[in-house]
Amino acid sequence: MSGVNDFAFKMATVNGTGSASANSLLMQAIFRMGIPVTGKNLFPSNIQGLPTWYEIRVNADGWTARPEQVDLVVTLNPATYAKDVANVRPGGYLLYDSSWPLEADLIREGITIIGIPFGKMCVNAFERDRDRTLLRNIVYAGALAALFEIDMDVIHEMLTEKFSKKKSLLDANFTAIRLGYDYAKANFTCPLPFHLKRLDKTKDFIIIDGNSAAALGALYAGATVGAWYPITPSTSLMEAFTAFCKKFRVDKGTGLNNFCILQAEDELSAAGITIGAGWAGARAFTNTSGPGISLMQEFIGLAYYTEIPAVFFDVQRVGPSTGMPTRTQQADLMSLAYASHGDTKHIVLFPANPEECFYLSVEAFNLAERFQTPVFVASDLDIGMNDWMCQRLEWDDNYKPDRGKVLDATELEQVKKFSRYLDVDGDGIPARTLPGVHPNGAYFVRGSGHDKFGAYTEDSDAYQEVLDRLTRKFESAKKVVPAPEIHLQNSAHIGIVSLGGCHAAVMEAVHNLRERGIVADYMRIKAFPFDSPVKDFIDSHEVTFVVEQNRDAQLRALLAIELGVPRDNMTAVLNYGGMPLTSRIVVDAVAKHLEGVAV
């Protein structure tokens, strides 16, 4: 039930009308009032003219998953009136632009309809057409500030920060915010029953999107080469990396760059650049999404078999094919875990939120170099592009990059004959050398069949020997990749397994299930390959649910393949329409299944 500091609202607009800044203004103001808040931008794959929504959830307890229904909707897009009205919970509110007559689509029993003539107010207040369109968003923000009791001082402070250098814009924004605020105050009972009250719960938090956080991770991990080809929803990752590099990586004396970012001609090339740079000794990465991952397959196999470190960020969107570029999914799990033809297996990390995008990004570079192999960070659109409230990011100045077994000039001086693929230490990880370091380190990299010395071979035993060592290497990675996060309750018979961006909704679902008398343990997988604790968790529960965002229950398939858990012992809970998972979906699926099973 909604109430003070516990409600959700959404703005339904047309993309290209400039609503984004008003929406983030609202979210950030609530955050600055110390109240936990999240925002989700549901936008079209289009530049102008299609429906877009921004949902804001306020929750004092810190639940951040997408709400199933909203308490209030601002409808500014006639094309989606019917859908938007239907999304309001019984007893909720609808705010529409009363410059025009109320359309039949907007009328619904059991909700309160509020009209504010945004359009007319803007025509009266502003001269230019552009201002009339853009500032309409600020007017509704002002109205909502009155209805929800958003602290106007906070809003003023934020507008001042934003437009400090443009006085005329600042004045116009002040006027607009006041217009909405005063109108709402004068015409309606403010605040509404659900509204805001200052808290002190966001002090240690920030609001950040996953792509920015991942880019920061790459910056802090010391990545110097970034290669990419633009694709939603991963583009903003390299844009953020570029911005961070310009801020932190330009040599003060010369103005020259301690980084090289290449926008490639396609994703094949982006993968090739990343692998070439990794081979030469740089920390290198590429960021892409499903279609790009498809194109990179051959190169991924090359890096796997020749044992070259490379980091791939896959900000997943809805596939197959072009699919829905601006909607979210976790449907690349299989194609990442076993990317490329032939026998291949890869390390994949699953951040649950932007905070983990940062830490797992750093971790990915370590793992890639330590295991001399491609490492994937499987984020998704919801994590990558939406604003999440997270703990402030921390950095340990004692951090030393794990470069893995790289022989330096001094070590190479002692080496008589260097052989690239010899398992000297018995952990499946051979030593590598970097080109140009020392004459004794030269060797020939080939994606064609090679033996443990690196020489070309078509001999079965010699080929198999290398392949088996690669398996051992992969096995040793199990102990090193991030362990699952396990939340146990007293004597639960039910286990829920999930990963990545499902986390927020599953945590909330576990809580809500408990209130319904269903006690469940929860394990969030953070990496592939899986180690024994993952199997132990599944084995120790009578009923296991695997919650994920794809049609084919890919995580469940991976668990079955890799751990030998019978597939049908795990019940799939799936959400694959492209909208972020809600706790309701999980709660309903679990409850429904349990009706038919005695636990």
Binding site: I206, I207, L219, Y220, A221, G222, T224, V225, A227, F248, R249, T254, L256, N257, N258, F259, C260, L262, A264, E265, D266, L268, S269, A271, G272, I273, I275, G276, A277, G278, W279, A280, G281, A282, A284, E298, F299, L302, R392, L393, E394, W395, D396, D397, Y399, K400, P401, L434, P435, G436, V437, H438, P439, G441, A442, F444, V445, R446, G447, S448
Partner: protein, 351 residues
Amino acid sequence: MTSIAKPPVRHPGLHKNVLGFTQRDYEGAMSTLCAGCGHDSVTAALVQAAWELSLPPHRVAKMSGIGCSSKTTAYFMRQSHGFNSVHGRMPSVTSGANAANRNLTYIGISGDGDSLSIGLGQLCHVIRRNVRMLYVLDNNGVYGLTKGQFSASADIGSTSKKGEANVQPPIDPVLLALTLGATFVARSFSGDKAQLIPILKAGISHNGFALIDIISPCVTFNDHDGSTKSYKFTREHEVEISTADFVPLRREITVPETDAEMTAVTMHDGSTVRFRKTRDNYDPTDREAAYEHVRACQLRGEVATGLLFLDEHGSDMHAIAKTVPTPLVDVPFEQLCPGSAALQKLMGQYR
């Protein structure tokens, strides 16, 4: 592919270069190409060019894609680093390696299939990026390694071993490179060592992307009557079509006088390939003139060879990207990581 001993490489005694290496030190593994394959001659020329330039072997990275031609990176400079990557994608791998370490000498070897079909996009873009490297395109008009299918450089009317004629128009890498703004464009013939070596040396020394298209006949699938990329390599012909000369390092590159403008190379099957040499007064720095020259030769059924275009003032990838002169692999981590204080300060912007 049968393994046949590579043709003998003549050694000028045990002569040492300034690094104290003999030419033999620049050789590689035994070639497994067909005896007489043009690619082996290119390999031999590269060995000599590298020796003459006194390249420190371990500072050289040999890059290739897939094909008979791409295999040859294993057959020279065994003390160098080699990277035999995937079909048609050597340019991107080299771009990445060069991005990371700009101080190595990059020698890329590719074929006409590797460069003009599957890898055409990568070739175009590595030219645009102007990555500092020598790019050798061993051009035989066929896919040698997959047994003789036409490649995109096969001329219209040229016949395959089975006798069928190619009907699709060819892609000329030289014209392509000139159009895309390449800063070093040359063409030569695998049988013409005297012309080849100076061009290879010039290309290695070039400050940017250096393309050399080398007509390198495939004796097994494209060395018969009716093929326009067949050859007969006789010592006389090699001498006769020698054109360019190369003066290493920071001195003006001159195109020396030649005795004849055009040389007809008679193939052992009786057909001819005519090589147009650059004229005495040819200005290799005029892109338009180079284009016209190559087109004019083409219309006459001749192949223009020599160092066709050179621009030593272009900006290479690093100049464009404004990277520091230190190779990025050598920049210390402390200089790359902004540290915790900076992060805490930055966090303020996310509130």
